[in-house]
């Protein structure tokens, strides 16, 4: 599969990971075997890392609180930020860890059942790590758009039914 088609495949999968191989091969103009082979290659190379589902938890009765935590750290000799990042991302409640340029170093997103649990994580686990200098915690109040998709709105086709 050439690079152009591979990029197309990736952008289709990024929007819809549930698309079946047959449909994928039809829209790309490739054979099912080619698509299968390419996908398993992409998975092996960790270019495709995981397949996720975007869920609007607010519509369920499951409580979820998400926080964005800005973390300032002292980088460690020889390892930069990677070691401390690993210490943080190993906690299963941590959803993502990014190294950030600007006023702080790491952006950590955390998902818990309640504010209290997030507060506990920050004070008991995060702040007590040796190289963590300071943290600032922001709670998400409402999600409008996530991973490129609007959370609550579905768009309506407002075009006329027939246009020459």
């Amino acid at each position: 599969m050439n690079d152009k088609m591979r990029d197309e495949l990736l952008s289709i999968l990024e929007k819809n990971s549930r698309i079946d191989f047959k449909e994928l091969s039809v829209v790309l103009g490739a054979t099912e075997e080619e698509v299968l082979e390419e996908i398993s290659k992409l998975e092996k190379e960790n270019i495709i890392c995981a397949y996720h589902t975007l869920i609007n938890w607010e519509k369920t009765d499951i409580e979820k609180v998400t926080a964005l935590i800005e973390v300032k750290v002292t980088p460690q000799r020889g390892q930069g930020f990677d070691h401390i990042a690993e210490r943080i991302y190993n906690y299963p409640e941590v959803k993502s860890v990014y190294l950030i340029s600007g006023g702080y170093d790491l952006l950590v997103t955390l998902e818990e059942k309640s504010l209290k649990e997030i507060a506990a994580f920050v004070s008991d686990k995060l702040s007590t790590l040796d190289s963590v200098l300071s943290t600032a915690t922001h709670f998400i109040l409402k999600k409008y758009k996530d991973h490129g998709s609007l959370i609550n709105e579905t768009s309506k086709d407002e075009r006329e039914v027939i246009i020459p």
Partner: protein, 389 residues
């Protein structure tokens, strides 16, 4: 009281499928594949520029032929996509859609008795515009076995000593047909030999799926005898902004601008500012939309193949044009029954010319999810018809 109406206007053939359109507009819950405009919203950065230009209070008229900056960008765009150089000062006019460019282009060149050759199936406005301009339309019935491309012998047969203009409608609405370089070269040779002018409607030029679109104006000796029409509606998903343009020989553009000045004054200012941004920064967004259309095109072609519905592979615009002759019904009957029985709206081919009897125009300016439901229903309908015969 007298009859105040113009004979010329009342004499325009009313659309033969009026009845069908009336039924469609009453069906509220139908799935439509009948739309000739993009399903994408105008890319945000273009809309943003439109909003910004309003905020800045740019609410005045522009010069008649359009904003200088826009004409320059149009000239750059044609240069980088087609390799043709148009002087932005006197070889470009910005119009209210490609629609206006078709109208004033014909009015600028037609004298009474002149003949305009119109290959069909094609967009609905060429014939009435030609008639209103005072010309006699001469129709060429394109053939499906030629993939609805215009062939030299068909053209030769239509030419008389009164022929002045050939309308070249590619990439084509409704068939999705394109003309490749070899096709165009043969046509250009005849056009030059017979001293004709070409009006080339390239509104879908950005949406081709085989090779990049080639304008007939880029061939030797053709720039001086071509009015090239294009616009923002299809490529940039800007139908409602009403913006298009014509490029051509300066004596023709000058007369077109004269009509435009008296009838329109200038194209919408706000849209013009937005369009400058579209041309400057839009290539990537256009390519993304083109890719999406291409996925849907392949999806539909495959679905028709599985249904064993006869359909040539279209390489342009966003339409497929399947043949339904096996069912022994007119296009209109088929479309009407499909609408009533399965609630899917498609356009009978005959909306685009009598020779399109037996065909349907199906638009893929819809999401694949939408197409899937529609295809399921079309399949039900086709199975039902086949089982009953």
């Amino acid at each position: 009281m007298r009859n105040f109406l113009s004979d010329k206007v009342t004499g325009l053939k009313p659309s033969g499928i009026r009845k069908f359109f009336d039924i469609v507009s009453e069906m509220k819950d139908a799935i439509s594949l009948g739309v000739g405009e993009p399903d994408f919203d105008t890319p945000w950065f273009i809309r943003d520029e439109g909003i910004y230009s309003l905020e800045k209070g740019r609410t005045f008229y522009t010069s008649n032929s359009g904003l200088k900056a826009l004409r320059e960008e149009i000239s750059n765009y044609i240069k980088r996509t087609q390799g043709i150089s148009y002087n932005p000062y006197d070889e470009v006019v910005v119009t209210v859609g490609g629609s206006e460019a078709i109208d004033i282009g014909l009015r600028a060149v037609i004298n009474p008795e002149d003949e305009v050759i119109i290959p069909q199936p094609s967009y609905v406005s060429y014939e009435p515009c030609a008639i209103l301009a005072g010309a006699k339309p001469v129709i060429i019935n394109l053939k499906s076995e030629n993939e609805f491309r215009l062939k030299p012998d068909e053209l030769l047969e239509a030419i008389t000593d009164k022929t002045k203009v050939l309308i070249l409608p590619y990439p084509n609405n409704p068939t999705g047909a394109i003309m490749e370089k070899e096709d165009l070269e043969k046509i250009a040779k005849i056009v030059i030999e017979k001293d004709l002018l070409v009006m080339s409607d390239e509104i879908y030029s950005a949406l081709t799926y085989k090779n990049k679109h080639i304008s007939i104006a880029s061939l030797d000796g053709m720039k001086e005898r071509t009015i090239l029409i294009n616009g923002f509606s299809k490529a940039y998903a800007m139908t409602g902004w009403r913006l298009g343009y014509a490029c051509g020989p300066k004596d023709i553009i000058k007369q077109m601008t004269k009509i435009h000045q008296f009838a329109i004054m200038c194209a919408p200012t706000n849209s013009q500012y937005a369009a400058v941004e579209a041309l400057k920064k839009g290539d990537e967004e256009v390519e993304k939309m083109r890719q999406s259309y291409n996925h849907r095109r392949r999806f539909l072609m495959n679905a028709f193949k599985e249904m064993k519905l006869d359909c040539f592979e279209p390489y342009g615009a966003f339409y497929v044009f399947p043949c339904i002759k096996e069912f022994n019904m007119t296009s209109e009957e088929f479309a009407t029954r499909l609408l009533k029985e399965e609630k899917v709206a498609v356009v009978p081919g005959t909306a685009f010319g009598d020779c399109a009897e037996g065909y349907l125009r199906i638009s893929y300016a819809y999401s694949i999810d939408n197409l899937k439901i529609a295809i399921e229903r079309i399949k039900n309908f086709v199975d039902k018809l086949r089982n009953n015969s």
